[in-house]
């Protein structure tokens, strides 16, 4: 069943066209990986989906409803987001980061919210860090709290914007393993990431975005083994080479 449908989306900042006629579709339980050079519009595309940025033209449907017809807070409750630099609420503990949305958006009573938060922290392997403040956590732990915070709202779709690229190499694995678990459990995920191992094993589709346009899109095997475009081969080859 189609969960997300992006149709002919255009987006410009001033004279600079950042997204040009972008269209694609995701089914429920799909894991879509977006790759592309810096400045190609990957973050902008994600932000258009939860309306942190407004599109200029085109349409985006979530579960059949055009997202601009939805209340934006309701939309964002249904579409979670995980950030490159975590953006944990610096004044709240790990548990407090997860409970804020539960309490203020879902209106959960305090005790239920705390119990729920602890469940989600346990799911990302941080049951023992519930009382820690972000500054007391490693980058990998912070990002896992970020994932727990997004998950707790029970979104239909989670957007990941380079969730591991601010991490030291030895901390990347713990975050990817949580993401892999989510993928295995059937969470619908739209991920900007250059972790090719994850893309190869977890992605249902990979989209190569360049200069605001979708150059090529397909299952991982096709893009890695037999891409249609030379540019795709070159870019993915380079990424694989780095790793």
């Amino acid at each position: 069943m189609t969960l997300l449908r992006v149709e002919h989306v255009d987006k410009s900042y001033g004279d600079e066209e950042v997204l040009h006629d972008v269209s694609f579709e995701m089914q429920r339980q799909d894991v879509e990986v977006i790759v592309g050079p810096s400045g190609s519009g990957k973050s902008t595309l994600l932000r258009c989906v939860n309306r942190l940025t407004e599109i200029d033209d085109g349409a985006i449907y979530l579960d059949g409803e055009e997202i601009h017809a939805l209340d934006e807070n309701e939309l964002r409750r249904r579409v979670g987001m995980v950030f490159q630099d975590f953006n944990l609420f610096a004044h709240r503990t790990a548990r407090g980061n997860v409970t804020l949305g539960l309490r203020q958006v879902l209106g959960m009573p305090r005790e239920e919210a705390e119990a729920t938060a602890d469940d989600y922290l346990e799911r990302v392997g941080l049951a023992d860090q519930a009382e820690s403040y972000p500054a007391e956590l490693s980058g990998g732990q912070q990002q896992r709290v970020g994932i727990a915070r997004a998950l707790a709202m029970e979104p239909e779709l989670i957007l990941f914007d380079e969730p591991t690229s601010a991490l030291d190499p030895e901390l990347i694995g713990e975050v990817l393993s949580v993401m892999r678990d989510l993928a295995d459990e059937g969470t619908t995920m739209l991920c900007v990431t250059h972790e090719m191992g994850f893309a190869r094993s977890a992605a249902s589709r990979i989209t190569f975005l360049d200069d605001g346009r979708i150059v090529e899109r397909g299952p991982p095997e096709t893009l890695f083994e037999d891409p249609e475009h030379e540019r795709t081969r070159a870019f993915l080859g380079e990424l694989a080479g780095i790793q």
Partner: protein
């Protein structure tokens, strides 16, 4: 936020023994001041009565409430004695003369202490009330300035610029003489009798509240702008509205960042509250001025009153430092810069 920081830890960082000495002086001063307020203060007395504890201290101390508790005579005698010795020593006795003046000052201080204590009470509640009411205005003003969009932010900007661009004394005069505010306040029957302050005091509170709200909102604005914008983005990404994000994420961090600036404003207001003297409010400075014109000992009374202000300012700085520590969060604010 850095240019205008008051060094709140100035007292806290003194070496052990001197810290103890300053602390001891402070404790004695405050014990004396609080005891004076408790023993003779119609406003507090009313409050105690309302709370079911009438005449808490007053009845015990009877008639001596208004009078000094320490006699001036021993200090005066000491001063005279030292002065005599100094006179017999001739011109080489500068130090002794100075000592005589100190004793003289102490004698004078015991005499005028009760009046100054009453003045300090007005100064303290004037300042504290104006700061708190000012904060209530400053938070929405600064939020409007940073997040309010073109219209609200300009209104907020115009307000703060108007207030900060005009002299405080002119604002007080405008409120007191220019507007029928005092008359309006007086039209409430209870004002000015039975321990309720006179209209001028209310006008002063209104004036200081407006004035300090403008300055406080500037400090808070700067603090809000130093909160990482990603914090609000993250708040919005879980479905909080912009206002909720500001309330639950930006303000708790920004207000913590604002404490040093807020302390600055608090200290300023303690001193600037002396301008209320010019609209007849019987606060610390006005009492000092009156004592001066009664006794012609202007130098002495201003030295003594300066020590009062110094004690109030140091206490505030110390208390705000404690507050900052009490609400500190690991990795947030000043501590984080040192990591």
């Amino acid at each position: 936020m850095t240019t205008t920081d008051v060094d709140q830890t100035a007292v806290g960082e003194l070496p052990g023994r001197r810290r103890l000495a300053v602390g001891a002086v402070g404790v004695v001063f405050w014990a004396w001041l609080l005891a004076r307020w408790a023993s003779h203060n119609t406003l507090l007395d009313r409050l105690f009565t309302a709370l079911g504890a009438p005449n808490l201290v007053q009845s015990e101390l009877g008639v001596r409430q208004r009078e000094p508790w320490l006699p001036a005579e021993p200090f005066q005698a000491a001063s005279d004695g030292v002065a005599d010795v100094a006179a017999s020593l001739g011109p080489a006795s500068v130090l002794l003369e100075w000592l005589a003046w100190l004793f003289d000052l102490a004698a004078f201080a015991t005499t005028i202490g009760p009046q100054l204590a009453a003045g300090a009470f007005v100064t303290v509640y004037l300042t504290v009330l104006s700061m708190l009411l000012g904060l209530l205005l400053a938070v929405p003003l600064s939020v409007a300035r940073v997040y309010g969009g073109p219209v609200l932010s300009r209104i907020s900007l115009a307000y703060t610029e108007l207030i900060r661009g005009t002299p405080l004394l002119a604002q007080l005069f405008f409120l007191y003489f220019g507007l029928p505010l005092a008359g309006f306040i007086d039209s409430f029957g209870f004002v000015g009798s039975g321990g309720v302050p006179r209209a001028a005091v209310f006008v002063a509170i209104v004036g200081f509240t407006i004035n300090s709200s403008a300055y406080q909102s500037e400090y808070i604005r700067a603090a809000l702008q130093s909160v990482d914008p990603g914090q609000l983005t993250a708040a919005r990404s879980i479905g909080l509205s912009k206002l909720q994000g500001i309330r639950y994420v930006v303000l708790p961090q920004g207000l913590r960042f604002a404490i040093p600036g807020w302390t600055n404003e608090f200290v300023y207001l303690i001193k600037y509250s002396s301008l209320a003297a010019f609209i007849t409010v019987p606060e610390l400075f006005r009492r000092a001025r009156n004592i001066g014109s009664d006794t012609f000992q202007f130098t002495d009374v201003y030295v003594i009153v300066a020590l009062f202000y110094l004690a109030l300012v140091l206490t505030t700085a110390l208390a705000m430092g404690k507050l900052e520590q009490a609400v500190a969060i690991p990795g947030l604010g000043r501590g984080a810069d040192r990591d």
